[in-house]
Amino acid sequence: MVTPVLAVEAIRKSFGGVTAVDRVSLTLAPGKIYGLIGPNGSGKTTLFNCITGMERPDGGRVLLNGRRIDGLKPHRIANMGVGRTFQVIRVFPELTALENLLVVTRGPREEAEQRGLELLRFVKIERLRDEFAGNLSYGQQKLVEFIRMLMTEPSLILLDEPAAGVNRTLLNDLLEAVRGLRDEGRTVLLVEHDMKVVMGLCETVFVLDHGEKIAEGPPGVIQSDERVIEAYFGR
């Protein structure tokens, strides 16, 4: 078997007595798109934060390409090839769109600028390169955040609600881009509430409820899983 890109093993995290993530395990194979769903407060973002080093898990392990990364600082993990976007957009408002991309790069500046302009062109906002990111529209900021993540050339991509607040056209472009990333051999894990997006995009879906993983499988199977239905609609 191939070494998984990401192996989360029995991760636990609690805040002041409240268990946010309870012994969750996931395995992600390279070049696939995975979905992470669950009701509000089921621990999806906390799990993301444990993977990216923004929270230190209370127990369990996180392995990236077979190497342990739990407990490492977020910037170390990011530099090992993990890129993410946030549920609430986090661009650097007083940096221009292009500067937002440049800050995450190393190596020759010329090349970085070329690459940045390419990506701005790719998402069709090249004309806004010198605009402060804080002045851009919501959708444009979302794009900047997305391509900023791409600037780091991540092999594992974590997207926190990429479809939220995005109009149809933009959404289709984004989904197309995500498929493109998969085809380049990158692995994508996305948290999403829009079931259409999840079902249309993901090969495997994990379901969290109250911090526990209650189901895992292809979208079609998940949709008819008793426990999942119960978690979402109650009984």
């Binding site: 923004m54 977020p74 910037h75 990011a78 986090r90 007083e94 940096l95 500067e99 800050v103 993540m149």
Partner: protein, 309 residues
Amino acid sequence: MSGRGRMFVAGLAVLVLVLAVYPSFGSGYGVRSMLQLFMWMALAGSWNLISGLTGYVSFGHVAFFGAGSYTAAILITKAGWPWLAASLAGGLGACVLALLIGYPCLRLKGPYFAIAMLGLNEVLRALVSYFEGLTGGGLGLSLPTLQATVPVYYVMGLTAIGVTALTYVIITSRFGLRLMTIREDEVAAEAMGIDTFRHKLYAFLLSAVGPGIVGGLAARDQGYIEPISVFPLAMTITMIVMVLFGGKGTVWGPVLGAATLFIFQELVWAQFIYLHQLLFGAIIIGVVLLMPRGVLGLLQMKYRLPRTI
């Protein structure tokens, strides 16, 4: 380079030239005033490097001035160093102090650093008084008499230029942009692979060098130092006011702020010396509430001026 840019550079060159020959015709008072102004430019510019760019407020930057003063004065009086070398060593001494403080305090976010810097002054004053053998304690240290105002004027001027040039280089580099990401959103910066701790620490070390050198030069120029004269809280306040007024996070903001406030101080406020702190407090409150970007920051946003302003 645009026409306006070229004119700016030409104007700057003329100004530097005039200042370079100024001691040959200026009055003693004039030269001394300019020397002071250079000192404030270097101090304000240095504070801007850490606080203006990263948003980490240093409430005790005068500590580096004092550390530089004592390093230089001790080297001059006890080891017979020439003042220029001693002042440069003052910059190094300040840098070492910054490392000692920055390493524990910059690993954390938020107010820890600010408060640690607030307390630093008191501690240094206590330490200086304790190590009497080296520092002369409360009595202070007298440096051998030497008429060096004009050479100190030049070195002070070069330090001010050096700090401003350093700011320019940093702000136009990706390193500088990364420092700003710490101010904008430190969590996101970390998640995007930026080692924020290391960036803050580097900025802090760089911001300590200028005040250290300037402290050494000031010690030479005054000929006498004591704990109270080299660790005044008022000096930190003045630096902060200058940068806030001129525009934090810009290249020329500290220069503009230093020049404006210094001239005002000399001409107008000298009569109201008792009101100084109150005025400074009011300026800080006013700028924070009404004009958080300062004069140049405001112009920059309004007229879409480049970063290098």
